[in-house]
Symmetry: C2
Subunit: 229 residues, 2 copies
DNA sequence: CACAAAACTTGATCTGTATCAAAATGCAGC
DNA sequence: GCTGCATTTTGATACAGATCAAGTTTTGTG
């Protein structure tokens, strides 16, 4: 069983396509391909022309920008089911960010032509693409607000609260950081050092208990109160 | 001649609709309405349910978030031809920002139902909506980069350079600020005081000459060099 | 299991930017 | 052209967060 033959079942599970016209799958699958990206390798670089849409099947991809002095700032971390690269695709611009695998990752690549064709012919699919873009647009707006309005500590608290599963109503919650702390720090626009200190201080205030990547929140409402206060 | 009768010709000129199927205009126009918003009045507030899409015909609208301590942060300033409110519309979420007229403004309001219907039936229109969203998404990403990577001075320089008309290749350029300085400062995530000082310092370095809202850039390449250096 | 490399923590210091307070300018309406 | 309010500028001070320089822990790998 080669890689191509697995494509139909792989793309079927994607939120972007799920429940749509069945013939759409076949047309898409014919032009889709699987990309295996080892940890640390790039999917595309800032400035590269757009070849299509990428969807994460397995693993993690970070979108980042180079700072000029050799460092990097992480814009977004994407896990399974997330689609990225649409903006450049539909605008016909080169990519404005670099996409790099945080761990060994598997992606589906959908060609530009297939995307444009299906958007033109299938209204439901177009709506999915729009919804996906709208969601990411909102997330960017929210990030922007966080950087402009919140202190470093507040951004960390905000981040921790977002890591709590939605339906969870417990007072005590254990959160496991989904990525290396350096990547999270960068996404929160903090230096790794500062992030580390903030976690220590939150620990000292008994708002959280840190041990490695495991963080226990003993009193969620109290932590939430840090944001409004 | 009442306001309704002017709608068809008004929406015809919009970038979002221009050059599309002619019957689309008629269907749209039937459900569109004109909004006159006086300076300082809000179009919608953060938390309001979405009623549709707004397009600026005349004037200026700023998107902002409240900081809690009574102040506000400007996310974006939109002029004629700009469409906003799509994200909330397509996600079915309440608005995540407040929209307020910076000056007396005229908007076209397109209903949610009309938008969804046309996206489903007209692939070209869907593509326009996607492109508009993609462009705004990219602008947010760029803003995010600016806040994360650049100093206040660099953000101001970046802003000034973006104010130069595209096709202009002159070395000496006069720019007139399109809004009050306080609004610009807020959008650049600076205090008004800091923004003022930056302009003064750039003036002292002979990179610009400020007189009120008029700013002369005597040597565009040299100003541009501030970003990379 | 051991060792090297990567990730994380801690400390000391320095800088960009906010904040508060007040003066100066610009502008709209009478 | 004066009056009064909004906008902008300037000054003095304070603080959040960056940077540089060690350490310490964790992790992957032969």
């Amino acid at each position: 069983m080669n890689a191509r033959s697995k494509i139909p079942e792989m793309i079927q599970g994607l939120a972007l396509l799920e429940g749509l016209d069945s013939q759409l799958y076949e047309r898409m699958a014919a032009e889709a391909s699987i990309q295996k990206v080892p940890r640390g390798a790039t999917v595309f670089r800032q400035g590269d022309p757009s070849t299509g849409l990428h969807v994460v099947i397995m693993g993690q991809v970070k979108l980042l920008m180079n700072t000029g002095n050799g460092h990097e700032k992480v814009i977004e971390v994407l896990g399974p089911n997330a689609a990225f690269g649409e903006a450049a695709l539909f605008l016909g611009h080169p990519h404005s960010v670099t996409a790099e695998a945080v761990m060994d990752t598997e992606l589906v690549h959908l060609t530009r032509e297939a995307l444009l064709r299906e958007v033109m012919t299938d209204g439901n699919f177009a709506l999915r693409v729009i919804t996906n873009l709208a969601r990411r647009f909102n997330r960017r707006t929210e990030d922007l607000r966080n950087y402009m309005l919140f202190s470093g500590t507040q951004r960390v608290v905000c981040f921790l609260l977002r890591e709590i599963p939605d339906e969870c109503e417990e007072t005590v919650v254990d959160v496991t950081l989904s990525t290396r702390k350096g990547v999270i720090a960068s996404k929160l626009n903090l230096t790794q050092e500062h992030f580390s200190r903030i976690l220590r201080d939150l620990g000292a205030a008994a708002l959280i208990e840190v041990s490695g990547a495991r963080i226990r929140i003993p009193d969620v409402p109290r932590l939430r109160a840090c944001l409004t206060g």
